[in-house]
């Protein structure tokens, strides 16, 4: 009997493939997300776009707000804890959250260490900008990886950069000789055994999703075509003019990401997307993707 084994944790990540995980701030939004076909919701008090505007310290959400959402929807509910804040993660595990996102969207609690995720029974998802970061998180026990992008920007450019970075490095590893892998592991700062595994598999050993800046059905399709297996949409839905129809359109765009006619159909007549930010407008010290190591 094994509850909470690594395989069982990765198992839930497998079930989320080909879907859309949506940020929601209350039960009403969670219901809209579920009705639109979301495979899971991420419960948080403020979506990244608002965290950016409000400033201050962003922490784990009030458990009562998360429980309210858990009671409303039947799909998995995820929630965020601060990087390195294992006490927040323990609280999220106690309310039986389905997935914990150790997230750069919240203000980091530890500037040197991430959570040792193997000691938890619930699975974790972590962000990455490159393959080395992804493998360090998997080494610590992450059951799911998402490329970071730039949360709350409504701008896909960073998500594309990070996904291309991960995929191109994976391709390089598959072509390397065995005697080159140790040097590659050293360069990336990644555990050697995982570097070997990626070199053999030609992919990450856990599912690889995309996040941070997805605002349109075309953005979702782009990330899927670049190798994402599911997308997280944060501010992109509930900062748009008509969240329900945009949510539904993005769900269809992920399933039919290779079908341009279908994408044309779901992209047509949608009300305005979130406004979004050029990355150069964001002061460097406010880039969320720089958090985590």
């Amino acid at each position: 009997m094994s509850k909470g084994s690594y395989e069982v944790k990765v198992g839930l990540a497998e079930m989320l493939k080909g879907g859309v995980i949506m940020d929601v701030t209350d039960a009403k939004q969670a219901k809209i997300a579920e009705d639109a076909g979301a495979v899971a919701v991420m419960a948080l008090e403020r979506i990244p776009a608002d965290i950016r505007v409000d400033g201050g310290i962003a922490r784990m959400s009030d458990p009562s707000m998360i429980q309210d959402i858990q009671e409303t929807v039947s799909i998995p509910v995820m929630a965020k804890c601060r990087i390195g804040h294992f006490a927040e993660a323990q609280i999220l595990e106690a309310i039986e959250i389905d997935f914990i996102d150790e997230s750069e969207v919240l203000t980091p609690a530890d500037e040197a260490n991430h959570i040792w995720k193997h000691s938890f029974k619930v699975p974790f998802v972590c962000g990455c900008r490159n393959l080395g970061e992804a493998l360090r998180r998997i080494g610590e026990g992450a059951a799911l990886i998402r490329t970071k992008g730039e949360a709350g920007s409504g701008n896909i450019v960073e998500a594309v950069r990070h996904m291309r970075e991960v995929q191109s490095k994976i391709r390089q590893l598959t072509k390397m000789d065995d005697d080159e892998l140790m040097a590659a592991a050293k360069d990336m700062g990644a555990p050697f055994s995982l570097v070997q595994q990626v070199s053999n598999l030609g992919k990450l050993p856990v599912p690889n999703f995309a996040a941070g800046g997805i605002a349109t059905p075309a953005d979702a399709s782009l990330m899927m075509q670049l190798g994402a297996e599911t997308v997280f949409v944060g501010s992109g839905i509930f900062k748009s003019e008509d969240p329900a129809s945009r949510a539904q359109a993005i769900v269809e765009a992920v399933t039919y990401y290779q079908d341009a006619n279908k994408l044309l159909k779901v992209s047509t007549g949608l009300k305005s997307a979130m406004k979004g930010l050029d990355i150069s407008e964001i002061p460097e010290d406010q880039l969320l993707q720089e958090r985590g190591w």
Binding site: M1, G11, G19, G37, I75, I97, T255, Y256
Partner: protein, 198 residues
């Protein structure tokens, strides 16, 4: 032999790997017309609310039920929910391929997900296997023509009726091939025998 895997959402890629191990040719099904080219169908694990939306929007219901009249269908977890008579949840529209009722997420949230050893009765023979239950549904009523192949915690978790096989767990996560083999290789043999006999 080409087997379709409903690829609207879920762990369809894991099923692809199992089919390849059995020398069956996997084919992803994203449109009802894709069913014209396959001789069996897998409805994978995933979220049954999402599958209901996408199957409704894609107009799948009548095509899958008519396909299932003469072809084998295997459903795992959410796939079992979709194959059931009812899920007692108005968010879910089921196909009614198996005469049974299910309760979604009856085993609890992810923290209660589990991998256990299990004995399964296939072809009158008891075989040990491994079963991974992820936020699993529970079968709460079984019709008289439904054969129970295995139980877990006192409830049926593997059932078969005619050409249709439903599992509340995920053999595809453990690399277990016996259920796919039973659903598609054995049932085909059975179907051919029947045609032969007629």
């Amino acid at each position: 032999m080409k087997i379709g895997i409903l690829a609207l959402q879920g762990d369809f890629d894991k099923h692809r790997l199992i089919l390849e191990q059995l020398d069956l040719e996997p084919s992803l099904v994203r449109y009802p017309s894709d069913l014209n080219h396959v001789s069996g169908l897998i409805i994978p694990g995933g979220e049954s609310t999402t599958m209901t939306k996408l199957m409704t929007r894609g107009g799948f219901y009548k095509y899958i039920t008519s396909f299932a009249n003469t072809n084998p269908v295997l459903g795992t977890c959410a796939g079992l929910i979709m194959m059931s008579s009812q899920a007692k949840d108005k968010r879910i529209k089921t196909l009614g391929l198996l005469d049974l009722d299910v309760e979604r997420n009856a085993c609890g949230r992810q923290i209660h997900s589990i991998c256990v050893p299990l004995n399964v009765n296939i072809n009158g023979k008891s075989q040990p296997t491994e079963a991974t239950f992820i936020r699993a549904p529970k079968i709460v009523r079984c019709g008289p023509n439904v054969n129970v192949l295995a139980t877990f915690n006192g409830s049926p978790c593997a059932v078969q009726s005619g050409l249709h096989l439903g599992l509340s767990f995920h053999p595809e996560l453990n690399g277990v091939t016996i259920f796919h083999e039973f659903a598609f290789k054995k049932s085909v043999a059975l179907k051919e025998e029947r045609i032969h006999a007629a």
